[in-house]
């Protein structure tokens, strides 16, 4: 019987959506995950048919994220057995029902059996089980959601030292230069980040030294000092966290004094004569950073705010405070601007351009959300010192040589700690406390019960290494090193399970996370991974640019079993749902390959998933079609593209937004891009030649 796709209208979708979800909310798939969208569409299309459905799910993202005991996101009978045997498990359930119905042990009825498997569980390890079940003619729809790799160790709030300053590990881009430790020369070097991997939810431990701490997985390697016998060189070796214990020495960053002045981005400047601008406080804005400006910004981060719509940059410095007099001095010197000091507690600088300028510097809004942005980490030593000086004048105090800085923003304290570690300060851990309303904290009375934190720090004295090198080395193996030092581990404690991420770094295979030298680790390729894609097992090298092979032709392999085979995309729900219904109405096995974008593995922003899925179809990388025996039929957009070839987009449009293909856009791999385009064209031509259009 030939396959007939039902017509699904937008109105149908509206009606169906009232039926209620089968794959319900509360599951733990990532924001932006294509698999969740796909699962909802498939199950809703099945629900519309009326017969009861049962689902068998192979091990994978969808399974793990939807059934964390004792919860489940599935409002239908659902079974998971293992990774590679979903099809065989469905075989067993189908035969059990048949047999028990024959014996009168179960009510007779038609059941729609749906099997979900990822690309790893289908293209690779589960292919045999799937092929076997189809050969036996077991009546199910197997849906393979292909996200193009085995997607599987640092905590997400780890900060990485890059050429452009300190960045959260989640903001690192492929190709970005990160600082690393050169194991031959013990120097600080810049290396390219060639891979970023989401490693899923893992157990996270916190490692602390006197001045540093980092959250990491148990298997993450750290560079440690192996002390040798007298007269032998000490060695640096990599050890995983599980093998480390308190007292072991690890390598940390102490100084990065090769910073340079920062050139500010251009911002919109209003001037007299602009639309509706009659009067303005003209000021001179700096183009580059300088110590005075950094001190001013230190004061701002401590106790400032901006309200650009009121042309206001405000500071809450009481009368007669040192901070206030310093602010008045600096604003005159820097901007030629006289602050308004009439108010008892606050100082105002009125200039719309200044407010906009300060806003553009990414210090964060609100006392609890302030942060030291990455560019501050790239500054020269004296500018960083001036910034810290400004901060101290606002919310800090000193006791002897020891300084203490107080803030309600945890992120600010964390980034301050890391900043101080780049200018050779000794920094303690972040303390947090809650104080009652009315308590005096740093010259001010609290207006409400508040939680805030503080860090203590002091300048390190340089040991006289010329005279006492061996003694200094006894304490700190890298005492004579300009950038790094060794520190003893104080504690390693289990924190909790949380999402983790990891980086790959060229050549040196290490990077500086939260000020500590750590090793990079290894989304592995599957046979569903596209050619040229970077994964941990197919890294983009200098000789081989990512995965060499084209994807396994899974749809064609399944079609060769003489079963209805469909391709579909969650970006085109009407097409997908029509195909699900046609497949379930068919008597016997059917297979559907769904392109299921994964923002973490494919490296793009989570709100782009459907856009990426559309581009896969519009570039003819993933054509929408179905086939049964000799029929090949293009559907939806793909059918339209076959009729209007000039609307087909170049493959670059699909590859470019994805981080996993970024390396292909380097000049040396231009040839590879052409090759990929040629293969896409050839496969598309072949399909168009044998297919009809709807």
């Amino acid at each position: 019987m030939a396959i007939v796709l039902p017509k699904v209208s937008v109105k149908d979708l509206q009606e169906w959506s009232k039926l209620g979800e089968v794959f319900t909310s509360g599951h733990r798939l990532c924001a932006g995950c294509g698999a969740g969208t796909m699962a909802r569409q498939v199950t809703l299309a099945a629900k519309v048919l009326g017969d009861p459905m049962m689902i068998v799910n192979a091990t994978g993202c969808l399974e793990v994220a939807s059934t964390v005991y004792p919860y489940t996101a599935w409002d239908v009978p659902w079974l998971h057995n293992a990774f590679e045997n979903a099809a065989a498990t469905a075989s067993g359930a189908i035969e059990a029902m048949k047999s028990m119905q024959r014996k009168g042990l179960m009510r007779e009825r038609n059941v729609n059996m749906i099997v979900f498997g990822g690309d790893g569980g289908t293209y690779d390890i589960g292919l045999q089980s799937l092929s076997g079940a189809i050969e036996r003619g077991h009546d199910f729809l197997y849906v393979c959601y292909n996200n193009g790799a085995y997607m599987n160790c640092l905590s997400l709030d780890t900060h990485i030292m890059t050429k452009d300053g300190l960045k959260r590990v989640t903001d690192i881009q492929l190709g970005e230069l990160v600082y690393a430790f050169d194991q031959n020369t013990n120097d600080l070097v810049l290396k390219e980040c060639s891979g970023i991997f989401d490693n899923g939810i893992k157990e996270v431990y916190e490692l602390k030294t006197l001045h540093h701490s980092i959250k990491t997985t148990i298997n993450h390697p750290f560079l440690t000092v192996q002390r040798s016998r007298k007269n032998y060189e000490n060695k640096l070796i990599w050890k995983t966290l599980e093998k480390l214990k308190p007292g072991d020495e690890i390598i940390v960053l102490k100084d990065m004094n090769d910073g340079k002045r920062y050139s500010f981005k251009e911002i919109k400047i209003s001037k007299k004569g602009d639309y509706k601008v009659h009067k303005i406080n003209e000021i001179k804005l700096p183009e580059e950073s300088n110590p005075d400006l950094m001190e001013f910004l230190g004061l701002y981060v401590g106790d400032g705010w901006t309200r650009p719509h009121k042309a206001e940059t405000g500071f809450s410095f009481p009368e007669n405070s040192e901070a206030r007099s310093r602010l008045v001095f600096l604003s005159k010197k820097l901007f030629d601007l006289e602050p308004s000091t009439a108010h008892q507690n606050d100082v105002y600088l009125y200039s719309v351009n200044l407010a906009r300028f300060v806003d553009s510097l990414d210090f964060g809004k609100g006392a609890k959300n302030k942060i030291i942005p990455s560019w501050v980490f790239t500054l020269p030593y004296e500018e960083k010192e001036a910034f810290v000086k400004g901060l101290m004048q606002s919310d800090g105090y000193s006791i002897g040589k020891s300084n203490r800085y107080v803030s309600a923003s945890y992120e600010l304290l964390k980034t301050l700690r890391l900043l101080l570690q780049t200018i050779n300060y000794r920094v303690g851990k972040i303390h947090q406390q809650t104080k009652k309303k009315g308590t005096f904290v740093v010259y001010r009375q609290l207006l409400e019960d508040s939680t805030y934190g503080y860090v203590c720090f002091s300048k390190k004295k340089k040991p006289n290494i010329n005279k006492y090198l061996s003694q200094a080395k006894q304490r700190d193996f890298l005492a004579d090193n300009e950038y790094f030092s060794s520190e003893k581990i104080v504690s390693i404690e289990f924190i909790k399970e949380e999402p983790t991420i990891d980086l790959r770094v060229e050549d040196e295979h290490n990077f500086i996370a939260d000020g500590i030298v750590v090793h990079n680790t290894g989304i592995q390729r599957s046979s569903g991974t596209p050619q040229g894609a970077a994964t941990t097992t197919t890294p983009p090298g200098t000789v081989i640019p990512g995965k060499i092979e084209w994807q396994k032709p899974l749809a064609e392999i399944m079609a060769a079993h003489d079963i209805p085979t469909f391709t579909a995309s969650p970006a085109y729900p009407r097409d997908l749902m029509a195909k699900v219904q046609a497949a379930l109405k068919h008597d016997g096995p059917a297979f559907m390959l769904v392109d299921s974008p994964c923002n973490l593995g494919q490296r793009y922003a989570p709100d782009m998933s459907m856009e990426i899925a559309k581009l896969a179809v519009k570039t003819c990388f993933f054509p929408l079609f179905y086939t049964y025996k000799e029929d090949w039929v293009l559907t939806g957009i793909s059918s339209r593209l076959a009729k209007n070839p000039d609307r087909k987009l170049p493959i670059e449009d699909y590859l470019k937004p994805q981080g996993r293909f970024r390396h292909l856009f380097k000049p040396e791999w231009k040839k590879k891009l052409i090759e990929i385009q040629d293969t896409v064209d050839e496969k598309w031509e072949r399909l168009v030649t044998k297919a009809t259009c709807v």
Binding site: M54, V68, L79, E84, N85, S91, E95, A96, M106, G132
Partner: protein
């Protein structure tokens, strides 16, 4: 019970297939492997001739066989399968899924040596290494015991206090392919022994929106595993009762351990499977020479009958353990280490002498067993209370 006993000649494999036919499970998923092949072949004959109304799934691997069994069992069906050696090893991953999801699947194992070198003959290593998979594990000595244990296994596995899968083994070719006298049961007798209704449990079926096989993390995993251990402990009593009931039904005595001439014995053989027959023959020969020796046969390997071991062996001077299984770098043979653990710290227990023998179907002759017996005695006499040796190989 039944007035006339029906006696037929059957090989061990045929006995299993015929016994399974009387049980008439809902689903059989199996993949052929020597020496289990005859079980799968005979059973497909029964299916295709309409003698049973089982769904027979000809899967494409043992991994899929066990996977399909898990799917079928969770749907509420009575499920049976059979395999051997490499097949059992391929199933290994899913053995844990079957017990973890409490699927009372019954598995017949035609015990065969592992590759490499490849060998198709009798050896029990394949089944013994599944000892920690939370499966009830039995061994049979003859075609008759294979027949009986097929039926018995369903009774144990499906008992509400157990709800664990069960496997039983017979040695490849030595039992699977040897034609023996088998007393059969009638369909009515089996129907009386095994309840007609299917187990009552949460089922993977259209009427129940239930989730099976969810991800269980540190917060609950251990509690679920602990329930498996409790079920395994219950399995001992359930097996004892089931064997008692089966003895009454069939008129053949069936016990967790079989004791042969042990009452007044100073020395004992401990064995399982086909080797037990040889041990009993040697006991007869030695008794004729005036030796005070007996034999103990283990039928239930998991849960391990520790108390039975102690009771049967207490007062014995030296026990000779004949183990047709290979283990490397272990403190003793597989069964020996279990017995040693069971007897540890108890008074009046024998010295234990384990002998790895008969690998890959190698025959350990009766004179060789007598030699081994003398060795054990010798060790015991000079005060060595635990030894492990390989015997019956070219030195």
């Amino acid at each position: 019970m039944s007035g006339v006993r029906q006696v037929v000649g059957m090989t061990g494999d045929e006995a299993v297939a015929h016994a399974a036919k009387l049980v008439n499970p809902d689903v059989v998923a199996a993949y052929p492997i020597t020496p289990q092949t005859i079980i799968a072949e005979r059973y497909s004959d029964f299916v295709n001739n309409g003698e049973v109304d089982t769904s027979f799934i000809s899967v494409e691997s043992e991994h899929s066989a066990m996977s399909a069994c898990v799917g079928a069992s969770l749907t509420g069906a009575r499920v049976f399968t059979a395999t051997a050696s490499a097949g059992l090893a391929l199933m290994y991953e899913i053995l844990y899924v079957a017990s973890g999801m409490r699927c009372p699947i019954v598995l017949a194992v035609a015990n065969r040596a592992f590759s490499a070198p490849i060998n198709i003959h009798g050896e029990c290593t394949d089944q013994l290494v599944c000892r920690d998979a939370s499966w009830v594990s039995l061994f049979g000595e003859s075609a008759q015991e294979a027949y009986d244990e097929t039926i018995l296994s369903f009774k144990i596995a499906e008992h509400p206090d157990v709800m664990l899968p069960a496997m039983f083994g017979i040695e490849g070719f030595i039992v699977t392919h040897a034609l023996e006298r088998v007393e059969t049961l009638s369909k009515q007798q089996v129907d009386d022994f095994i309840p007609a209704s299917r187990i009552v449990r949460d089922r993977f079926c259209p009427d129940e929106n239930k989730t099976f096989g969810s991800l269980v993390l540190q917060d609950y995993y251990m509690e679920i595993k602990r329930q498996q251990e409790e079920a395994m402990q219950n399995a001992y009593k359930v097996t004892e009762d089931a064997m008692q009931e089966f003895s009454e039904l069939s008129g053949r005595k069936m016990e967790i351990t079989e004791k042969y001439q042990l009452e007044d014995a100073d020395y004992a053989f401990v064995s399982y499977g086909a080797t037990a027959g040889n041990a009993k023959a040697v006991v007869d020969r030695l008794r004729a020479k005036g030796e005070k020796v007996g034999a103990l046969k283990i039928r239930l390997f998991r849960p391990f009958p520790s108390m039975d071991m102690f009771q049967a062996l207490s007062g014995i001077k030296a026990a000779t353990i004949l183990d047709r299984s290979a283990t490397f770098g272990s403190p003793g043979t597989i069964v020996q280490t279990d017995i040693a653990s069971a007897l540890y710290g108890k008074e009046n227990v024998p010295s234990l002498h384990g002998y790895i023998n008969g690998l890959g179907g190698r025959v350990l002759t009766l004179p060789e067993i007598e030699e081994v017996y003398e060795m054990s005695k010798e060790y015991n006499n000079i005060g060595i209370n635990s030894t492990t040796d390989w015997v019956g190989y070219r030195k």
